[in-house]
């Protein structure tokens, strides 16, 4: 995605104060204007997809929950929905309502976190502090319902692990009133604050055509006028029983992404109210069978499950060989779908806009880190390796690095070029 243009090259990352996780942008700048951007990802490969293959489906719920600290419920929901599809289980309505409720609370927590980060990136720290203070409302609720603020561990195969008591329902409804007041305040002030407008209006614009061409997902696509939302397009959990709007905007700039997210929070509040008020009585799990018995019944086959994570469409692909461990798990996170729009949006904008343009897609960088290893011996391109070649390349690379470092007597000081 790079262009050969002359000019000063500014490295942004892999360590940079505006990036919470490692990624690297090499910006070619002419004065203050960016003429080219080059993106390098995958500094922090965690090998979760591989690790998942050595664990049972049950253990994998907890492993996959730890892919992300912000959309943890998204990953488990998507995964267990896939396994339930394989097993052909009918999840009770009550469990689906609880999943929906937790999912929407998580969306609010993610969007408020983003609003704070966005405020910080445009140098508006007061917005950051306010947004994160109000985010505590949902974090407290999540802790009260599930016992945890971040990794709720409420999903299990065939249902949920904890019930929602009447008392908790009351608290949720009361807190939603409180939160709604705050959201009205943000909806009123943020898009109308003059300096916020100056920094966000017509910045990092992604047109509808570009968003469609690059398959932008979630709020990024919706802010560019693409009405994509898995909750509406392929309802899961209890969304087919909920009444809600898919929030879109046509401007496609950062201001649109900000307002779309704030309005989505308002929409989430409405869904949470519906779920808390209309939650039906019933079981929490699809079957009283013990988990080991369930896992023993998993048939051969593969399944794709989709989930509308706060950042966009999340896809889990599962392939089962009939044992209690999966044969393959592949995860497509929404950030991966949104990266190309960032590179396009950066070109032609100011250096000063880099942090907010990058943060505008709400990137989850480590989640997108992937390494492909060929096992069948065919070569797909010069950067593709089979396992032996990769091993050899690794040994060579570390040898080179040790040679470079030995000149100063400190192995490892020369960081060299990454593989």
């Amino acid at each position: 995605m790079s262009e050969d243009v002359s000019g000063t090259k500014i490295p942004v990352g892999p360590q940079h104060p505006s990036l919470k996780e490692p990624a690297n942008f090499t910006l070619t700048v002419d004065g203050e204007v960016i003429t080219g951007a080059d993106l390098k990802l995958s500094y922090n490969h965690r090998g979760i997809e591989q690790a998942a293959l050595s664990k049972t489906y049950l253990e994998n719920i907890y492993l996959l929950e730890r892919i992300c600290g912000i959309c943890s419920h998204a990953h488990t929901s998507s995964f267990v929905t896939g396994v339930e599809d394989l097993l052909d289980l009918d999840v009770p309505r009550r469990a689906n309502y609880i999943r929906t409720l937790i999912g929407e609370l998580e969306r609010i927590h993610s969007h408020m976190l983003w609003l704070g980060v966005a405020g910080h990136e445009i140098g508006f720290d007061t917005l950051w502090q306010y947004a994160w203070r109000d985010r505590e409302i949902v974090l407290d609720l999540l802790e009260e319902i599930t016992g945890n603020r971040i990794h709720y561990s409420i999903n299990t195969i065939g249902g949920v692990r904890q019930d929602l008591t009447d008392e908790q329902r009351e608290t949720v409804l009361a807190k939603m009133d409180e939160l709604e007041e705050r959201i009205d305040f943000y909806l009123e002030t943020v898009p109308n604050e003059e300096t916020v407008r100056m920094r966000c209006e017509d910045v990092g614009t992604v047109s509808t055509e570009l968003a469609r061409e690059y398959c932008a997902a979630g709020p990024v696509g919706r802010a560019s006028g693409l009405p994509v939302d898995v909750r509406r397009d392929a309802p899961y959990a209890a969304y087919d029983e909920m009444d809600f709007d898919v929030i879109t905007d046509t401007a496609g700039d950062l201001l649109a992404r900000t307002t779309v997210r704030i309005r989505e929070v308002a929409e989430s509040i409405s869904i949470i109210r519906q779920a808390a008020k209309g939650i039906p009585d019933g079981d929490l799990k699809a079957t009283p069978q013990p988990m080991q018995a369930l896992l023993a019944q998993i048939p051969e086959g593969d399944v794709v499950s989709r989930y509308e994570a706060p950042r966009g469409e999340l896809i889990h692909y599962l392939r089962s060989d009939g044992t209690d461990t999966p044969e393959r798990i592949h995860i497509r996170v929404p950030t991966l779908a949104n990266w190309p729009t960032v590179v396009e949006a950066l070109r032609g904008s100011y250096i000063a806009d880099t942090p907010i343009v990058v943060a505008g897609i709400d990137p989850c960088i480590s989640c997108t880190s992937r390494i492909g290893v060929e096992t069948d011996g065919t070569h797909a391109g010069e950067n593709s390796f089979n396992l032996d070649e990769l091993r050899e390349y690794g040994i060579e690379w570390y040898d080179d690095r040790a040679d470079g470092g030995s000149a100063t007597g400190e192995p490892g000081t020369d960081r060299g070029d990454r593989p």
Binding site: P11, P17, S18, E121, F124, T126, Q129, M198, R199, A352
Partner: protein
């Protein structure tokens, strides 16, 4: 003035000891108020001092590709500039510690020194982020200096002198002029905010994009000195605005003796703290502008208003003398 008084002015009051204490106190107030605006608790009163001492104790590294001599000298020149400027600004009475005809120009020059020291220090530190930051520092300097000078000259034109002490005396005896200077005061506040590179005019150091720009490579006592310079500049800038537009020690400027001096200092503290508070709140309620937006604000809005202000001052002067 004998040598003892000179040294007293220079080292104790209103010089180094007073400025050091007051600057750290102002930083505390600034941070505390900023934190309260953001619904945070904020630092304890001695935090700025603790930060300063901690930085003094840290290693102060010089990067390999820095031009060492300039890199090391930069923090000192800026601090020396702002400390000297304070001697010409009236604090306890209408007369400053030192004064001569034209000292306003010297004060304005000395107050620009920190920006230049930041530029030289950052540029010669050999860091890409610093170089982009220093380019912005200089760009911004061209933006705010002209409106700031125009604003500062409005009272000077009204008083018919370039001596700060006489300007303070003039405003003290014609307090209604403070209303005439209101636009210039606003320009002065905004320019000072830009001079100090604070939100919304902190594009040169923009921590989320340039990692503090010119200061990116600085560490230890050199960084401590730069930060102290910013604090002292805040206080001296506030003192200058208070002297030019709020009449300095007015309404107690004419009281003689120790009581008068004590009252004068109290008024000085009240006025400068008020100015610092306004600047802190400004920092709390706005987002950072891009550098070209900063220039837009200063060239499109503040320069014309500054010119208009000079015109108003001239018209008021002619009217007062019965010529209009």
């Amino acid at each position: 003035m004998d040598l003892a008084t000179g040294i007293l002015y220079l080292l104790v009051f209103p010089g180094f000891a007073f400025l050091f204490t007051y600057a750290l106190a102002a930083e505390y107030l600034d941070r505390k108020l900023y934190a309260r605006v953001q619904n945070r608790v904020g630092p304890p009163p001695l935090q700025p001092l603790a930060d300063f001492l901690k930085l003094l104790a840290k290693e102060s590294a010089v990067p390999e590709n820095a031009t060492a001599r300039i890199y090391k000298a930069a923090p000192l020149t800026g601090l020396a500039g702002v400390l000297t400027a304070m001697l010409y600004i009236p604090v306890w009475s209408e007369t400053a510690a030192m004064s001569f005809e034209g000292d306003l120009v010297v004060v304005l020059f000395l107050l620009s020194l920190p920006s230049f020291s930041l530029f030289f220090g950052g540029w010669y530190s050999g860091n890409v982020f610093s170089q982009v930051g220093t380019t912005r520092t200089i760009t911004q300097l061209f933006g705010y200096e002209i409106p700031f000078f125009l604003a500062a000259f409005a009272p000077a034109v009204a008083a018919g002198t370039l001596e700060l002490s006489s300007i303070v005396a003039f405003v003290g005896s014609n307090p209604l002029h403070m209303l005439v200077f209101a636009p210039a005061f606003v320009i002065g506040l905004l320019s000072l905010q830009a001079k100090l590179e604070r939100i919304p005019f902190d594009a040169p150091e923009a921590e989320s994009e340039l990692a503090t720009g010119a200061l990116a490579e600085y560490s230890g006592r050199k960084l401590a000195l730069f930060r102290l310079t910013k604090d002292v500049e805040l206080v001296v800038g506030a003192a200058l605005l208070s002297a030019l537009f709020l009449g300095g020690p007015y309404p107690v400027g004419s009281i003689e003796g120790v009581a008068g001096a004590a009252l004068g200092i109290a008024v000085f503290l009240a006025k400068t703290i008020a100015i610092v508070a306004v600047l802190s709140i400004l920092r709390g309620v706005l987002a950072r502008l891009r550098i070209e937006q900063v220039l837009n604000v200063f060239y499109r809005w503040l320069v014309p208003i500054g010119l208009l202000q000079i015109g108003i001052v001239l018209a008021v002067g002619l009217y007062a003398e019965g010529l209009l």
